[in-house]
Symmetry: C2
Subunit: 356 residues, 2 copies
Amino acid sequence: MKKTALIMAGGRGERFWPRSRKSLPKQFLSLTNDGKTMIQLTVERILPLVDMEDIYIATNKDYKNLVLEQLPGIPKQNILCEPVGRNTAPCIGLGAVHIASKYEDAIMMVLPSDHLIKVPDIFTETLEQACEIASEDTNLVTIGIQPNYPETGYGYIKMNKEISKGTAYSVDCFVEKPNLEKAKAYVSSGSYVWNSGMFIWKISSILSNLQKYLPNMYSGLKNIQASIGTDSEEDCLISTFPTLESISIDYGIMEKASNIYVIPGNFGWDDVGSWLAIERIKGYDESNNTISGNVIAIDTNNCIIEAKEKLIATVGVENLVIVDTDDALLVSGKDFTGNIRKVLETLREQKAEKYL
Amino acid sequence: MKKTALIMAGGRGERFWPRSRKSLPKQFLSLTNDGKTMIQLTVERILPLVDMEDIYIATNKDYKNLVLEQLPGIPKQNILCEPVGRNTAPCIGLGAVHIASKYEDAIMMVLPSDHLIKVPDIFTETLEQACEIASEDTNLVTIGIQPNYPETGYGYIKMNKEISKGTAYSVDCFVEKPNLEKAKAYVSSGSYVWNSGMFIWKISSILSNLQKYLPNMYSGLKNIQASIGTDSEEDCLISTFPTLESISIDYGIMEKASNIYVIPGNFGWDDVGSWLAIERIKGYDESNNTISGNVIAIDTNNCIIEAKEKLIATVGVENLVIVDTDDALLVSGKDFTGNIRKVLETLREQKAEKYL
């Protein structure tokens, strides 16, 4: 069966401020040393499985030009611009009806645009396994990540003990972000994996589940589907999409549907969820620093320093994240990067749009 | 007797890097909120006592244009450019022979160009007292600063118990920068003041002392004096000045001469010796931060942040000094600002002249 992909690229990447901005969010940045942006790497990773013309990008209209620039091989009509952000279920539904208007049925892989994967070969193998399972019945498949520490910032998936369908496990339940105590228990049990937000299913499977569990959304999506390729396509999207319920695919479908499978992935996944990820990605020097750009570090330990052309000199500091950009600089304690959002809140209050 | 002043402005101000640079050192910067540079404030403070045409600036040739720009009222011939740095004794001697070539005798006040004084009125009163004492005999007068903590970075002056000449004390001895234990003893004894590097004497007094204690230097200076106003003035300075012994006035004269007096000054003196001085000068906000420029400080305490137009956002940090300039940024732990010199050493090794 034809394989297609929907790459979700509407996020703001606020935890990567000041490098990530409203006008150039994280998925359009290069955070690795190869110069490729995260969304370019995402596309590159799935090209062994999916033709370029079958890759769809869901984003918002502000980022359409960024997608065109960074991914010139993607057909223009495959760039799906959400008029407003409506969480993942409507976004995925929009992708599904576009693919449905092109193919009678097809495999659809739903992938975030802003994750990194260290071993792409294992990733594509895992996706191939997922495609096999997804091609049967109305199976909905998700990729889980084998946890190696009790992260409290991710949702978890509880697997049933017995293996079904070869390497996949049937899903017992999805669980929300746990507290540390619960996370520890999840990790030590061996029965839980992190929810990576990657899904694989047939178009027919996801549409039938949308019809069953989110009938109003399904009906709106079918209206949109009917307009695809007509003169009213854009008008219909603009008038209909904002009426769709804002709900995540996890909550709207995955936690309710049957035939849910999870494949534990061991391909070096990183959601690059904060500046601290940079040291995981780039590694440390002998002083436990992760440094790039024009930096002189004296008596400096355990710091992440992302400089550009401006010289950054550090003297007698530790456990800091320092990130320079043309118009804004961040100096954050490593344990406080979660509070970068407070900077953005302040900027919004000050109507300092240019820094957002 | 005519009052004249020599302002010493040849320093590099390296402890104020990256704001202070080889091409624009500390004395030519404004560190206060009034927009006036330190050397402008120095001149302003003594104008109640000294005519502009009797103020001499000793500096090096690289800074001649800065002096002309910042102090347009100073006669061009009063800007004395040392061909090489030779410590304070030759610098003061050069000033003395220039003044000697203009006046038969005069009071000479020697003042650093990069100190701040909170109460200029008390400062001028103190200088007036010093001028009175200096006008008698061959008295050499220095201004001491009443210490309010055991600073180990300054030299101290031990006063004799008995008051001589009104408000002045005769000097027992000059002592080098002490260790903390000694500094504590000095402060608690009540008999010690900080050596401020400010001196007041008659031209005839300092020249006779130079002749006595530094006869070779005196002889070189007399050669220079003979050339002043002639066609060979510049050549003579360039050939003679580098031959003068590199020695401080403290070590060369003050520790040896008799008739030394010190007046304890209580005029809110600050030598602005490191970035930490900025909080003494500018004060703190409710989070003990001293902030200027475009800054958003979240969960930030006890920091000095000198931003310019670029936004600096701090999150969860404390005890830092953050200083931004157009091409270089410093992030230093407050207890480590003394190691800023290591940054400059590294820059010299890298031949990164533009940042020095």
